[in-house]
Structures are given as C-alpha cells and as structure tokens.
C-alpha cells in the first residue's frame, strides 16, 4: 500500500473542519439500528399474534397520517432548498425556507397529537397499542429534536459572519431531517399501509 494521506493536511492540532459531520453520519447509522430493532419487533409481534387488534378496534384511520406524510416529505424538499440558498450565500432565502421547514415539522407534530388524542386504544392495549405508540412516539421525539435543532441553527444564522465559510451544523441538521423523513416513510408503510393481519 502506498502512502495516500497527503502530508500537508490542515493543521491537525486545532481545527478539524470535517470531523463533526463524519461523526454525525456515524451516529445516524448507529441510531438507525434502534429503529430497525423496533421495526423488526413490530413485524415479528404482528405476524405471530393471534389477536392483533384489541377488542373494539377496527384498524387505523390512514387519511390524517397520509396528510402528515405529505407534509413531512415536502419538508425534506424545503430544507434542501434552504441548504441551496445557504450555499449561494442567500441568507434571507435560507431563513425563509428553514422557517417553512420548521413550520411543516411543527404541523406534523400537531397532526400526530390530534391523531393520538382520537384513538380508542392506549399504550397498554396489547402489543398492537404498545408498538404503535412506541414507534410513532419514538419517531415523534426525533421530529421534535429536529425542529429544536433547526431553531438553534436559525438563531445562529443571526450571528454575523457565522455561516460565511459554510456551516456543518446546517448540513448535519438537514441530514438528520432527511433521516427522520425516511424513517417515517418506512413507519407509515409498516403501520398504516400493512394493516391486514
């Protein structure tokens, strides 16, 4: 193996500009395994259940969650637009699209809360109720975290020159948001589309 590392790397002692993003990507890969655990648990419990639905529950209403899905998927688009604005140095456009993304995320959480409050089963209604609230709740926690991170980045954008040289926090938050989006699509298919037992 020949030497591939260039010898005039940026000063290794002080600044590690790319390490934060590397670390964050590694963390996201790891975090996805938690969801994989819950998804596989859901699939195993569902396929092996004798009575999947608790007594008196006909199934899950899918219209409201579908609207939520559209909202979350489009927010992945707006955050991409925000990032593009940032790359072009258009800070105002970045803030606008960033705020729209935050609003869409908040609407998703609101929709989730409305759905939860209208359900006739609880967390302890067998494995059906348990897995439903565990999956949607754990995902919702990630959405809330994403909105919080976006708020943090928005505030940081008002510090003069803070984002002049590109900002890994924005990249990381955006990556996190796409991650939350993809997880939701899998979750939606598993919970709402695959209803037949």
């Amino acid at each position: 193996m020949t030497a591939t590392v260039d010898s005039n790397r940026p000063d290794s002692n002080t600044a590690h500009p790319k390490h934060n993003l590397t670390g964050f990507i590694i963390f996201l890969c790891s975090e996805s395994v938690v969801f994989l655990t819950f998804f596989s648990g859901f699939a195993i419990l569902k396929t092996s259940a004798l009575n999947w639905l608790p007594a008196g529950v006909a199934g899950l209403e899918w219209r409201m969650p579908l609207i939520n899905t559209v909202v979350l998927v489009s927010s992945s688009g707006t955050i991409w637009l925000a990032e593009r604005c940032m790359a072009k140095g258009n800070l105002l456009g970045f803030r606008a699209f960033w705020l729209v993304t935050m609003a869409l995320g908040a609407y998703f959480l609101y929709g989730q809360a409305v759905e939860w409050s209208g359900l006739q089963f609880g967390f302890t209604s067998g494995t059906f109720g348990g897995t439903f609230y565990l999956l949607t709740g754990f995902h919702g926690l990630h959405v809330a975290t994403g909105v919080f991170l976006m708020g943090l980045m928005l505030v940081k954008s008002f510090i003069p020159q803070n984002y002049a040289g590109g900002e890994q926090g924005v990249q990381a938050t955006s990556l996190f948001w796409h991650f939350v989006d993809v997880i939701w699509i899998i979750l939606f298919v598993l919970i709402y589309v695959w209803q037949r037992t």
Binding site: A3, T4, V5, V34, T37, T127
Partner: protein, 558 residues
C-alpha cells in the same frame, strides 16, 4: 518537517488534580477510565469471592438465596459494563491517538462526557443494593418474564435501576465509539494508510464498529423491557400477545458481538506484543487486519446460538450453528499468525509477554469449548450449566483480562513514565494463570455432569470440583494484591522509563515517556513503512535515527 523542532519536550510535572476533574486530554481520560474500571473490578471481584464462598459447600449457607441471585447478577453486570468496557476504552484513549500520531481524539469534550457517565451509572447500579427489594436478580441478561416482575410494586426498583444503568452505559459507549471511529478514519499520521496502521487500531476500529451496529439493538430492547416493567405494556408478555424470546434476540444481537468488542482489542494487544518480545515482524500482517473485519461480519450473524434451547426453529439452529463454526476460521488465522510470529523468535519472557502467552493458551482452550458449544446437540445438553460459565470465563478472564494486564504492563512506562517491577509482575502472572485455570477448568466437568448455573446449593456429588474452583477463585483474588502493589509503588517511586524501554517499533515509542499533552503536536513524523519491522532494519518513519537521537539526548539531560 525539520528534526530540530522534534521531538517535543516532555510535559511539565502536571498536578494530580487533573485526574479528578473534567479533563479533555485523551491520555488523562484513558488513565481515569482504567483506574475507575479497576475500582469497580474490585467490587465485582468481591462479589465473585462471595459466590465462590457460597459454592465451596453444597448447602446454601453463606448468603440468602435471593441475595445470591442479586450477587451473581451484579457480578456479571459490573464486570462487563463497569470493568471490561471502561478498561478497554481507557486503552483506546491512551493508544489510538499516540499510535496514529493524532494530538487528541476527534471530539475531546464528547470523550470526557463519555467517561464521566461511567462513574454516574456505576453509582446508580451500586445504589440498587440499597433500594427496597434489593438489586436486579434476573442474571446479567435479564430475560423476561423474571426481569419484568416487580413484586414490591415500587417504581424505583433494582431491575429498573439496572436497565437505566445499562442504557446510560450504552449512551457512553456510543459516544466513545463515534469518537474512536472518527479519530481512526480521519486523523492518522501522514503516510499511514490503512495497511500501515498498527493492528491494535484495526481491531479497535472493528470492535467500535460492532458497538455502533449492535448496541442500539440492546438499547431498543431494553427500552421495551423498561416499558413492560414500569408502564404496563406487554411486548414480552405472552398474556398480552408479547413474545419473551423476542427479547433474547434483541439482547444477544448485541451481547454476542459484545464478546468480540472485548476480545478484538485483546487480539490487537497480542498482535502488538508478540512481535516486540519475539523480535520478529508480525506473521501475516494483512490477514490479521482483514480477519478482524471478517469476525465483525460473522459476529453479527451468530447470536441465536445463545438460545438454541429457547424454542427457535430448527432451520435457525442449523444456520447459526454453521455461522458460529465458521467464525473459527478468521480466529484461527490470527492464532496461527501469532504462533508464526513467535516461532523461532528471540523470545524475551517479560511480564507482558508471559501474560500474552498465558492469554493465548487460555484463548485456544476457550476456542475449543466454543466449537463444542456451537454444536446444537452438545449445546442443548450443556445449556445453562457450568460448562457455559467455564467457557466464557476462559474467554473473558483467561484471555481478555490477561491480555489487558499484558497491555498495562507493556504501556505503563510510556504513559506513566516509570517502570513497573518485574518480580511482582511475574508473581502476578503466576497467581493469575494458575488461579484462572484452577477456577475455570473444574467448571467444565461440572457442566458435563449437569450442574446448573445460578444456584446456591447443589448435589454433594459436585462438591469436589466446586472446592477446586473456589480455591482457584481465592487465588485469583490474592493475585490482585501484587498487581495493585506493583502499580502504586511503580507510579510513586519506580525507576524512570526511557522513551522506548522494550525496544519496540511504533509511533507511540517515538514520543517521550510520558508524552506531552498534544503528543507530536504539529510535527507528526511521516510513516514510510509497515509496522513491526523487527529485524528488518527498515525505519518506520522519516528521520527516525535523528528523532531517536534527540529523545536519547533529552533523557540524558534530565
């Protein structure tokens, strides 16, 4: 790079207090990890003494049965989550940056947070001895339905504290793993491609990747168990449609790879030390490196062999028996590489080398019983007996802990700057090797005779082997005394160490002992050859002779 600015001068005598605070220097954190780990090692060891004291007679006469259940549960949990993992993370912290020429870890503050979580969840776990109902008593694997019982009905109960502590341990380990992987991937010295990296860094990279893939599954499974225990769900309760075996899948999906998280760095230690003390290059360097990642891949698909007897489908048993046996191949590659390294080498039987040889011997023995256990009919016969206990104690104590001792004796001069005493070290080795074998070998016949694990009383026909095992355990207990004595007295007044007392090759040996806070700083030497060039005369880095001369001059002047 000029050699006039190199090597960096040794650090000023820093105060002791930095070891007791929030410090972001990886070398300080490494020592903090190791010292805290050995503190918990003493507690876990004390519990082991109580277990073996109880088992020296067939009757349950030393402790109450429920107390006994709590003691073996806590012994396992403390030894794994509060001793082995922290001590290995300590070695990672000391060795990874210095071996790859990085000034520190990629995320120094995250590193310190990860360390400080250890005493926090350790205290939490120890505190569970004092809650109503006592500590968790369902064994270190906490299978439901035993682990979802809460007879006293308190919200704060031993099992709940256990789960919280394990979850925090998971958070700490993930923080550590993100840090180690990023550091190894992005902060290597100029010229150090992957195939010029020391094997310890390869095995650390492999082990930490396993943490990242496996640990979240345990966290997920533990969250569901906590919900069952405290919030009334029924993920693992058959009466609510749940499945207790599901937990076993989640648990072992992590906890089998966890064994590789433990043993892979020890393979790394063996691969570092055998060349030094045999004065020969590591045999089959590339294959040893690659075998680590084959072990990672295979290690992720063997977990079902832990519960062949728990009602799993026959095809699963066959498949997982096959994959488990397959893992003997990359492991065998490593064992033969070490044998090839010491074969006709100029052996120096120093304390670290003795620990390595003893560890290798025990590991091969554990590997043989491992293959036996992989076989479904044998496994079902000895499932939940002392055969299993003997097998994994040979791996964990016989191989892993002995490898860790070897590493401590080997790198102590580098990071403390003083030499440990050889006489005490050899006494420690002798007591450990004899004690471990006397303790764990009798467990195999006991298991084959049918003695179940986790019982405090047993049939008198098992008495003979149990007495032997208990004597071995007490010997192991005694073996810690020369070790602690050695460490403390060497640290306080041991002879000053030179920069390279073992005449070893590696970036860390081109630093003063102890290294300055930012290691090489900005003057990282350029690596120009593979590691372990013993006897080849090939220099490891550019300007090696000048660097060595400077270091020697520096030592002569102080």
């Amino acid at each position: 790079m000029t050699s006039t600015t190199f090597p960096p001068s040794p650090p000023e005598d820093a105060s002791w207090s930095r070891y007791f605070g929030f410090n972001t220097d990886a070398k300080v954190i490494g020592i903090q990890y190791i010292v805290v780990a050995f503190f918990f090692f003493l507690i876990g060891g004390l519990l082991a003494m109580i277990i073996r004291g109880e088992l020296i007679t067939p009757a349950a006469d030393l402790v109450d049965r429920t107390v006994y259940n709590g003691i073996y549960t806590m012994h396992g949990t403390i030894m794994l989550f509060l001793f082995i993992f922290p001590v290995l993370n300590g070695l990672n912290n000391l060795l990874i940056p210095t071996m790859i020429g990085a000034p520190d870890m990629a995320f120094p503050r995250l590193n310190a947070v990860a360390f400080w979580l250890v005493p926090i969840f350790g205290t939490l776990l120890i505190a569970s001895f004092f809650v109503p109902g006592g500590p968790a008593y369902s064994g270190w694997w906490s299978y439901p339905p035993v682990s979802t019982q809460n007879p006293l009905g308190h919200f704060v109960n031993g099992q709940g504290l256990w789960l919280t502590a394990v979850a925090l341990s998971g958070v700490s380990s993930i923080m550590g793993a993100v840090n180690f992987v990023t550091t190894i991937l992005r902060m290597r010295a100029p010229g150090m491609g992957f195939f010029r990296m020391p094997v310890f860094c390869w095995t650390a990279l492999a082990a930490q990747s396993l943490q990242l893939i496996g640990l979240p599954a345990l966290t997920g499974g533990a969250i569901m168990l906590l919900m069952d225990l405290n919030f009334g769900t029924s993920f693992y309760q058959p009466e609510g449609g749940g499945d207790p075996v599901l937990y076993q899948h989640f648990f072992w999906f992590y906890s089998h790879p966890a064994v590789y998280v433990i043993i892979l760095p020890v393979f790394g230690i063996f691969s570092e030390l055998f060349p030094v003390y045999s004065r020969k290059p590591l045999f089959g360097y590339v294959y040893v490196c690659l075998a680590s990642f084959i072990i990672v891949g295979l290690g992720l698909v063997v977990w079902v062999h832990h519960f062949f007897s728990s009602g799993v489908a026959q095809w699963m048993r066959n498949l997982f028996m096959f994959t488990t046996m397959l893992i003997a191949v990359p492991t065998g590659v490593k064992v033969f590489a070490w044998l090839g390294t010491i074969w006709r080498g100029k052996l120096r039987l120093t304390t670290p080398m003795l620990f390595c040889l003893g560890g290798l011997f025990n590991f091969v023995f554990a590997g043989i019983t491992g293959i036996m256990l992989a076989t479904v009919p044998v496994d079902i016969h000895v499932s939940n007996t002392y055969f299993v206990v003997g097998h994994f104690h040979y791996v964990i104590y016989g191989a892993a802990v002995m490898g860790i001792f070897a590493a401590i004796y080997h790198w102590f001069p580098k990071f403390i700057g003083r030499m440990p005493y050889e006489g005490l070290g050899k006494l420690h080795f002798l007591l450990t090797f004899v004690g471990a074998n006397l303790n764990f070998l009798p467990m195999h016949p006991l298991g084959l005779m049918g003695m179940p694990r986790r019982v405090s009383s047993y049939d008198p026909e098992f008495a003979f082997w149990n007495v032997l095992a208990s004597l071995g355990a007490f010997l192991l207990g005694v073996s810690i005394i020369p070790f602690l004595l050695n460490m403390v007295s060497a640290w306080v007044r041991g002879p000053k160490a030179t920069h390279n007392p073992w005449n070893a090759i590696g970036l860390e040996w081109l630093l003063p002992s102890p290294p300055p806070e930012d290691n090489f700083g900005e003057h990282v030497p350029t690596v120009i050859s593979r590691p372990y060039g013993y006897g080849t005369g090939e220099p490891l880095v550019d300007h090696q002779a000048e660097i060595e001369r400077e270091l020697t001059l520096q030592e002569a002047s102080t």
